[in-house]
Amino acid sequence: MSATPTIGVLALQGDTAEHLRVLGGLGVAAAPVRRPEDLDRVQGLVLPGGESTTMSKLAVRYALMEPLRKHIGEGMPAYGTCAGMIMLADRILDGAQGQQTVGGLDITVRRNAFGRQTESFEGAVDIDGLAGGPFEAVFIRAPWVEAVGADVRVLGQVAHGERAGRIVAVRQGGLLATSFHPELTGDPRIHRLFVDMVKGQA
């Protein structure tokens, strides 16, 4: 893989700009992806937070769903946050009727599992293999991972409280996903991990 890859950020709906800013801060070339041809110009893809039902509908309507499946199926590294995690999941629970996903990650995700916005929260999560201590994680109407396939590595779980043990960060080969939003905090460590994955260095 090229030493200076361009990383795309899906720009159908959601906090695309925040991901572009974090990637820019890491000195990485980053570009929004709205059309199928945009995918041909990037070597990795971030699927941002937002509303997964809206994102999924727009991906189908703009003929992006199949190109996304093709690129990710052929090994393009991808990182999904919150709604992006849902988009990467092979199976969803509590989705809208007929809600499609890109898939690729052998996980079952429960949408809005942590509850409505009044229950949204922030708290520390230990991420396996991430140096520098616990990650300050912001969860917004967040999903969790209910089941993982044999090839999926669990990177992070809720540490305390009634949701202790819930899986909120996973990796399977070149695919990474978190229930929470590193793009909303000042901490670039998870994005840096993804950039290293795109470069073939992690």
Binding site: G49, E51, Q117, T118, S120, I140, H181
Partner: protein, 304 residues
Amino acid sequence: MTNTVDTSATGAAVGTTRVKRGMAEQLKNGVIMDVVTPEQAKIAEDAGAVAVMALERVPADIRRDGGVARMSDPDMIDGIIDAVSIPVMAKVRIGHFVEAQVLQSLGVDFIDESEVLTPADEAHHIDKWAFTVPFVCGATSIGEALRRIAEGAAMIRSKGEAGTGNVVEATRHMRAIRREIARLGTLDEPELYAAAKEFQAPFEIVKEVAQLGKLPVPLFSAGGVATPADAALMRQLGAESVFVGSGIFKSGDPAKRADAIVQATLHYDDPEVIAKVSRGLGEAMVGINLDELDDSQRYAGRGW
């Protein structure tokens, strides 16, 4: 200024500034649609709305009916929360913090402290830091926007004349806010102090806007958006997304118009897409010319 509800036993904090503003960030590039029934909420969700605004009457009907407009019946809001899986917003009267307490207890995802309803307080807006749920407030100018942010608003929207199908006021507000943000970027420190005085807003927030070149919370547009081109106009004027009130369900073919406005909001800079989705939409809502409204019928002047 943050209102962190620390629940140390679980290590989780709800209602923090990051959690509230973060929710607002997730709604960007989406369309928030006014709905008055669970059936309308389903149509909005199916059309790709990023959230729905649950209310008893759309602004066009509030104008027609007159009288005092208040928070909706909790049964009605529950019905819409049960009907869809996307976020649900609802409106409270300006300054009516008890209506806000009620909506928060119902589990509404976002509260609009709205001039479309009849104000409940002539001097005070709600102290929004005191709530776990995030708030959006209207603004006609940067000063108004910054005062609302100082009170804890997690999102600002323009305050166009709701229920008129006339986008001229929203355009004025978007242009004013954009122009004033650009001007702040050219000021030195002593001038920023003077600007804070002029805007009647805290210096720290004025300085933050000058440095960021944008508000510290998302800026959406609302009021009078009736067509896909209206939505795209607001986006090109700097709105990060749009609220559509009466424009959808007061039109001839709501499902088709909702879908078209979602598409125009995404591809706001592509006239070919806007042309395509603008075809054969049926009748738009009947508009009202603003010079036909007397001052008591103008909503933008509500709030301070």
